[in-house]
Amino acid sequence: MGTRVEGRRDVVVVGGGPAGMAAAARAAELGLDVLMVDEGERLGGILPQCIHPGFGVHYLREELTGPEFAQRLASRVEDAGVDVLLEAHVPEVRWISHAEKGVRVLSPGFSGEVRAGAVIYAAGARERHRFEIGILGDRVAGVYTAGEAQTMMDVYGILPGRRVLVVGSGDVGMIVARRFALEGAEVVGVVEIMPYPGGLTRNVVQCLEDFDIPLLLSHRVVSVRGRGRVEKAVLMRVDEGLRDIPGTETEVECDTVVVSAGLVPRVEVLRELGALIDPATGGPVVNDRLETTVPGVFAAGNALVINDLVDHAAEQGEQAAEGAAEFLRRGGIPATDWVRLRPGEGVKLTVPQLLSGERDVWIYLRVNRPVRNARLSLRGAGREVRLPVVRPAEMVRVKLMAGEVRRAKVGGREVVAEVYRG
């Protein structure tokens, strides 16, 4: 039996990763008629390829591997009665009216437009590639993004190379380095441009130290050389300003370079639709219902802001579903004099960008450098939080009470997140 596609839906969810699945399940549990569309062959987004444990500690109170976490959410989606359409790409979402959007769907079985009362956009992120981080040199085989290497190894069972250099020491880079080492490849190093590792200490210990993988801090890969296939990479040391230090070139022999240089929210469809994009997050500007600046279009997960924890992505999915339900029930999210939430000293980004003061709200923020004994101040809301340690790799999540947001309405009409030492 194929999935019914035609006709009008209460909610169409674009993307079937953890954020989309949580959104679709929650919306259906709230009694809405939901269609979820994903271009992949199976549900789960990037989770089926993330075979390490570390998923769901907060959301499911149990530590699972990526595929297991995906399976749990997939059964919830099925039990909730969500219609799922796989191998279906959404190239465009069209504004028809305040109460109606047109979602274009391209798939082997169905191509056309599905009308929706509300859209939840959960299309995840794309990986940055070598040219975006300035790795020049020859165009050769053997250069992969971390996700590509992971998919080859952990979905198709193919080892991409034997002598591997990993670029970027975020959690993803370190986890991929460990997988190569476990499968018998030699990992010649993990190169990091910053003076500290990008990911969690846990991963420095269990992924690098456990396997004697060298971590090269304050270095960057400037080029890749080879004929046909990678033969070597050229590294340089950088100073505090991240500028190359002349005369520090070294060559490293390797047959594979894996680039793990971060993710970028996939927002083309939203941008075309006219949604305002926040340069700090790379995702859309949203209010505390996770509604974008296009009424009736909501965003969640990595398409909204890059999440290091799947728990947060899934939680945003649920919030977006609740927002969509309110939109449908009341004919819109009531306009209000929004309070702006923005990053200040020591903070790189904050979400959501607009707060109503009508409800308590989870705010997510990322700092721009590691700080021990940190003091997080939400200036304007009169709130201070002490945190033993904050790091750029770990999103900070704080609940702000409605009353605290309302305080800012009498003041400067904004809440500024700042992080200090001590």
Partner: protein
């Protein structure tokens, strides 16, 4: 740290704090490692972890196993309990020849008591090829 024994420095992995822990240890009469003192941990869980980590470090092992006639052509697996870190390479070699038949369900035991250390359990499903997506096995 002063006194008898050898000192090992560790970065705690129990929580995001990442305390720098020092463990002083020596060897008992039977050659077994004994913990004399743990310093630098700010909680009891950290102290426990550090003691375990220097005497008998263990890890859950994750990898993939090929599935004959399966879609996708592998399943991801994990050990059902942590195994001694020093035996991970040997454990991986023992799994190198393992191949299973489709279909595989999540939670299915694919190899029992490997090296008498742990069972190997599937964490992802693989369907029999030729079955269309969305169809229930």
């Amino acid at each position: 740290m002063t006194g008898r024994g050898k000192v090992r420095r560790l970065t705690c992995i129990v929580c995001p704090l990442g305390c720098e822990i020092e463990v002083r240890l020596d060897r008992g009469p039977g050659g077994d490692v004994r913990v004399l003192e743990v310093r630098g941990a700010t909680c009891p869980r950290g102290r426990e972890w550090a003691a375990q980590e220097v005497t008998d470090p263990r890890r859950v092992v994750i990898t993939v196993v090929p599935v004959r006639g399966g879609d996708p052509p592998t399943v991801s697996v994990k050990t059902d309990r942590p195994i001694p870190k020093s035996r991970i390479p040997e454990f991986m070699r023992a799994l190198a020849g393992l191949e299973v038949e489709a279909p595989v369900r999540v939670g299915q035991v694919l190899a029992k008591d490997v090296l008498d250390l742990a069972n190997v359990v599937a964490t992802r499903e693989s369907r029999s090829m030729g079955r269309s997506f969305g169809e229930r096995p």
